[in-house]
Subunit: 638 residues, 2 copies
């Protein structure tokens, strides 16, 4: 029940955890390599962390050795045996891999990769004309958060939304086919990080935050080095039309995002209230903000045309005093903001403060009305451990916060924290349990925890550094996603699962919410060019080949074109049998795509190499799959 | 022990297996949609499969219902609990995903994706200058086989080799860092499918086969439609230099590959001895070939300059009667060829014949000497089931063959098959056990089975159609890799594991062979441009930024360039701490790469957008990882 290891840095392989001050000191040591003026500004932070570690360490009775060698795993009772199904769909953001992953919970199996901001030769994403249009010429991305669309505070099984922090975009995924069906570029912003859909009554808006402050109009004009002119924006996107509705401009940066359960507020943490451009500047202040956006007031401002328009986007002034925002001071460099399933509390953690701040959402009306000070809405601020990042919930009144310096999950009771804030009692704590994880946890999420149906069964700890948890696979090692049973009083580690670079966040959605929406095939007519009869047509030097694919033959045995022709292949998989996909690759022509049942995909290229090139099916489809091929004959120009 | 389900087609979701004739008939039904002349040529095949199914079905006592609902899984005893390590590194070819995967066995965890023929934004593969040079402008591929380098018949832990069937290349992966360190384009070939390294005394040569017959000089000259002029090549690559040594030209196509255990022979199956260009032509003949290549005679021909040179490559004549090859007739459209761990037998399966052919390698000298007929070397040809593809071994004299129409693994005894061939006994069979798999198995591999240290512990069944084995994730579903315990008399299914499109083959290598070679960091000086001191230098409009990355800061806080400059960033991760990687992304500039400890990666691009662009670390590295960023200032041209 008590803490086992309080602190750990990023240690050398095999050295295990180090306790207390030692780890905090590694931060100092590491920073000192860059030397100079940085050091002096960072030292106070390091010392304050170390001090907090000591006090916490004493309060909790000190550190004990790493519990790495469990005698037996309790996973067996949760095993999803051959032929059995998982209870939850996990939707995981793949970080700089640019993809979204579907993870079965509790098996932790990756059931699918959904390419979003990455080229995927396996599926043809980024190669087909259809997907190229979605990507707009940018094929890297940084997916931090995947969120589902909502109705009345729980998932409706319709869409997933996923950000791109690198190239500043939002993508929408259709849950029925688990493919991206729309994207939108977010202007006037960089570091598009937090994203959250409206939770009630339905998802009409999706909001996004800019983590990096920039000039609003970033065209090279003005003194680009003067960071005091920079700001952030809170972007509102129409979920149905996938268009930017408006942007609320702030002076501060805006990091993680959440919405409330009434459709009236959205939230953004701001870790750089200083407006700094260097790491030391960003750490100067002891208090930063939870920024609250009033949707009532934003809607009123839009209705009253109380905005300016830049590049066609309404820009609303969200600085202090405009009535659109409330700036609630919270300790130093807050990271996550999460709303409790009852809708009553927003929990914010200051990653370089050992606390969680509990904001009473029911008091926000009074904050916006000016009846109370913003800080008055903070009804609890318990000390929970070092490096608190994200908080999730079990629907039974408990919060679970990831502690990335402590490398722990900490379970604490929200009401207990509020009560102790009101009536402090010596030696009492809201902390219920601690569990070591392995090793540096970022996001954490419990089953259905971002809905009003939080069920408190499973907790996922998305750990960034797996270090020595798996066979060594070289300099770039996997991450370690850990599955934890939270159905009881104490947390129980069930399973380690290696994860490819680099999952950021995950949501766990009950199977019964998703499964009825998922289809085995699209409707043939969804693609306007669906092919039912193969053909070759020519218009000048443009050749269009319409091709059916029915196991084990393509609809044509030869296609002849001339060198230099612009060739478009439109391929329809005319098999409607579930899980019977065909691949389409042209030898030496760098073209590859996979077409699912009744799907149509197209690819356009220049036939710049004369000769005979075999087009072949790359995806197993039939006993005679290897024989499923045709000849692409390119006649030389001369 | 006995068969549970004998036959299954690719059925509709949830309809389960269908027995006997029904499944065979689905092949006819499916083909008949394309109608016409194809049908008439395919009908005999369908009928012969159906007939074989009936006889096998009777011999085995008929079909029984699908055993999909196991009461309890025996996996628990094999679980790799948190903190424990796998026993084997599995190296899996990722098919048209273009990647290689490291899978821990028996956990089945994907421990790493190694990008090879795919762009990987997560690692920067295909984005960095270093990796672009490896890919040669082609970023799709089709990896079918990963093989390890050998010494004295077992793996030496130095390299992995992987083919590209789509763009016809070979890549080499350094096992110490699990990254590609060399690639070579294979000329004069398409469908570069089978690949196998020399097994003894060490891997000096790697051989590759062309599955698709093409004109040798494929420049559009001659009658491109006349398939009788096409042929295949057996390519020899120098493993150290990664250069093509020579190509042995054949009239037939060459599919899967193997080498013997003495360094004297290599093998290729040929399923299209007909030289057909359409599916019906490819199925015309009842016998195709196992082609054997004599390395003694190839070396002699090279030494005697008995070849012509095309595009700088020695082309040897490998047609019948030249002494370089032996064409051993084997039943219809053979697919896999695998050599038993004792080095004595090559096992070939004719995928549209229900048999496995056992070729006695010790008799090949007599074949090449003309003392016996090629077919005399076939010492057994047991009936084992429908759609036999690949065979693997337990080192105890048993073979395990994947049956992709039967959806089974079949275990049979090699010596027993040979004995029964010599002395047929009514009602006797070499078959020892059958296990249903789910559903269409392609490759199968036992632990260490491609070495003389085969240990008979685990068998992997790489199944192409998972259909209803996992939560439905849309039209494109995962594959199903199944783990099977083969340590006892009967095979025991342990685990299903979902796999992303589309693993083809896998090798299972003991941990103790690989682990000592794997490093946590490269040597800093391995990259000639490794940065130890950050700097910005300009040469005309070319700007070179040398940048250190040490958690949590980059070595510079600002980089200023002019619009239109050609900018090269060279980034060295100067942290030597294991598993501490830094990411490097430039907002809105479509650039992303990850740099491991002591690694150096570079990227070159044109600064075509004026403004302030944040460069940020995309890979979690430190408590202040979010603050690890710098400004890239692009001054406008005007
Ligand atoms: Cu196909
Ligand atoms: Cu970093």
């Amino acid at each position: 029940m008590g803490p086992r290891v309080l602190l750990s840095g990023i240690d050398a392989r095999g050295s295990g955890h180090s306790a207390g001050l030692a780890a905090a000191c590694t931060i100092t040591a590491r920073l000192s390599r860059e030397g100079g003026d940085l050091m002096s500004s960072l030292r106070p932070l390091t010392i304050s962390i170390a001090a907090a570690a000591m006090s916490l360490s004493l309060a909790c009775g000190g550190a004990t050795p790493d519990g790495g060698q469990e005698a037996e795993s309790p996973y067996a009772a949760h095993e999803v045996a051959p032929g059995e199904y998982d209870d939850y769909y996990g939707f995981s953001s793949g970080g700089h891999s640019g993809e979204v992953r579907i993870v079965g919970i509790p098996s932790m199996r990756v059931l699918k990769r959904i390419p979003v901001w990455n080229i995927d030769p396996g599926s043809g994403w980024g190669i087909t004309n259809e997907s190229k249009a979605m990507m707009g010429g940018k094929w890297v991305g940084d997916t931090h958060h995947v969120q589902g669309s909502y109705v009345d505070g729980t998932y409706d099984g319709k869409w997933l939304f996923v950000n791109d922090k690198a190239n500043n975009r939002l993508a929408r995924i259709r849950i029925d086919i688990f493919e991206v069906d729309a994207t939108v570029e977010i202007p006037h912003t960089q570091g598009t990080h937090g994203v959250f859909p409206q939770r009630a009554p339905t998802t009409e808006w999706v909001i996004l935050n800019s983590e990096f402050r920039t000039p609003l109009v970033n065209d090279g004009s003005g003194d680009m080095l003067d960071a005091s002119t920079y700001g952030g924006v809170h972007t509102i996107v129409d979920a149905e039309r996938m268009e930017v509705v408006a942007q609320v401009q702030t002076e501060v940066n805006l990091d993680l995002a959440a919405t409330d359960y009434s459709g009236r507020y959205s939230f953004a943490t701001s870790y750089n209230s200083e407006g700094g451009a260097t790491i030391s500047e960003m750490l100067a202040s002891d208090l930063d903000y939870l920024v609250v956006f009033s949707w009532d007031n934003i809607k009123a401002a839009l209705a009253n045309n109380d905005y300016r328009t830049v590049d066609g986007v309404p820009i609303l002034d969200g600085t202090e005093g405009t009535g659109l925002t409330a700036y609630i001071p919270v300790p130093k460099n807050p990271h996550g903001v999460n709303v409790s399933p009852d809708g009553n509390y927003a929990v914010v953690s200051g990653k370089v403060s050992p606390t969680a701040s509990v904001i009473d959402i029911t008091m926000l009306d009074d904050v916006f009305a000016g009846n109370i000070e913003p800080r008055d809405a903070v009804v609890a601020e318990p000390e929970i451990g070092l490096g608190p990042l994200h908080t999730t919930f079990d629907g039974r009144g408990n919060a679970y916060t990831s502690l990335f310096i402590d490398s722990q999950e900490v379970k604490w009771n929200i009401q207990r924290a509020i009560d102790l804030q009101a009536n402090p009692q010596e030696g009492e704590t809201a902390v219920v349990d601690r569990l070591d994880i392995h090793y540096q946890v970022g996001h954490t999420m419990a089953s259905m925890a971002e809905t009003n149906e939080a069920d408190g069964r499973y907790l996922i700890s998305l750990n960034k550094i797996s270090k020595d948890r798996f066979l060594n696979v070289g300099p770039l090692k996997p991450e370690n996603d850990q599955l934890i049973d939270i159905s009881g009083e104490s947390m129980v580690l069930l399973k380690d699962e290696s994860a490819y670079i680099e999952p950021h966040d995950i949501i766990l959605v009950r199977r019964d919410i998703i499964e009825p929406h998922v289809v085995d095939r699209v409707r043939l007519e969804e693609h306007p060019e669906a092919v039912t009869q193969s053909s070759i047509t020519r218009d000048g030097n443009r050749v269009t080949v319409r091709l059916t694919a029915t196991a084990p033959v393509f609809g044509l045995q030869e296609v002849e074109v001339n060198e230099g022709d612009e060739v478009t292949f439109i391929v329809t998989n005319t098999d409607e049998i579930p899980d019977l996909a065909h691949g389409f690759a042209i030898s030496n022509y760098n073209i590859q795509m996979v077409v699912g049942p009744f799907q149509t995909k197209s690819v356009t290229f220049t036939a710049d190499k004369p000769g005979v090139y075999w087009i072949y099916c790359t995806n197993f489809c039939h006993a005679l799959h290897l024989e499923m091929r045709l000849r692409f004959i390119v006649r030389p120009r001369s």
